[in-house]
Symmetry: D2
Subunit: 136 residues, 4 copies
């Protein structure tokens, strides 16, 4: 399942309404990897004038589900076991889009390991996450 | 700063509008620890019928900022360095509230370490997070 | 399996010889929780005069395996899925023992979640780890 | 500081004697990145017949200190703030060497973020770690 439109549709079917407000846009997909645009909307900017960490973590988690779907060929029930995010650089309000790339590092029988990178408009790494999912 | 009303007000002043949609309610606070109610609203439930992990991580991060404020005595600029969340049990739709307790484990000169527990309505641990913040 | 002597014996049977050089000593055990003494030997102190982080992480991982055994009632094949350690305070050379407490937070069918605390001689938290294991 | 011999020497000067028993060998270095060989010695193999996780985490932490030195140009006092390791595949006893690559992802004023990959003899990812260091 690497069709950009099908993946875009999946976002509105699978995720919670609150997560859909991330307005993630699927840019590209290949088996085990997906690239998304994350708009830096005012709704996601905190008092310090930068995109909030909550948004970055949530985008990372969401992107990983989609990356796993590109690998599995379809959506299957799964659950996040753990997700660790490091915040390297702020993404300033006024930036149009951050870029989110999620990648399956290993798909085992029950567990899937992945990595997510969020980059700012200049391509610099803003957040880096690693995660484990359980296939149900 | 352990006044419940002041902390409640801070939520609407500091955090991004999207984060305010978590509708976190401050239940209790003491220096270095805060307890919040996290309503399990339909907006936060995904296709699997449980509260989404994005909400749990976001609530954890938000709660920790408030816990640090209770320790510092006021809001100071800070940034999340990293946050690791483990997801132990799902929180079913239909639950009224999850409870979020955030606790400062150590406040150093520049770094603050903390721990966050999210429990379901029966008091069982649903998510457990550890985190590092940098004071700016 | 909460017999202190049986658990002590298990350390020399299960773990790699290099890990046995931690000289962990079982102090107490109950179902789902174990307490160990970690001697602050010169072999584990780095040029900065404090116990090295490698030792703290290794002790945490080792302690968790034993904590899981106290819960399962026996040793079963298992593997660490992930382990995240935060280092809060140094443990100075010259300290006799650090104390390591590992606790099962949730035992699922395939996955076990746990938490490990390493405290210095005064009882202050030196390292805090969270971890996921897969039962094989 | 990217001289392989100087970095090799640093291993025996900086790290605890127990860590030196990892017998890490510096293969290559460039600013912000280092590549090491980690011998799969019998001392590091547990009852399950694979290299123990404690060794993998310890090698990751050690490698990162060296990677930071290649970036700073010298050894400066630093401390690990946190290190998260995911274990993707076992490394079987009988393997000669695992390969450890540590990379600085971002060097801030006080904090350094990094990533470490441990691969088995066939180049497959066995462990993946992310970490934060504080420069003192």
């Amino acid at each position: 399942m690497t069709d950009v439109h099908a993946l875009q549709r999946a976002i509105s079917e699978i995720f919670a309404p609150w997560v859909q407000r991330l307005n993630l846009r699927v840019l590209a997909a290949q088996p085990g990897e997906i690239e998304l645009a994350l708009p830096v909307g005012a709704e996601h900017v905190h008092a310090g004038g930068v995109m909030c960490g909550q948004t970055l973590m949530s985008a990372a988690d969401t992107a990983m589900v989609l990356a796993i779907m590109t690998q599995l060929g379809e959506f299957k029930p799964m659950t996040t076991v753990q997700l660790q995010t490091s915040f390297l650089r702020p993404i300033a309000a006024g930036t149009d889009y951050a870029k989110v790339v999620a990648r399956v590092l290993r798909r085992g029988r029950n567990l899937v390991f992945g990595e997510i990178e969020v980059s700012d408009a200049t391509g610099k790494l803003a957040a880096h996450a690693t995660t484990t999912y359980a296939l149900l």
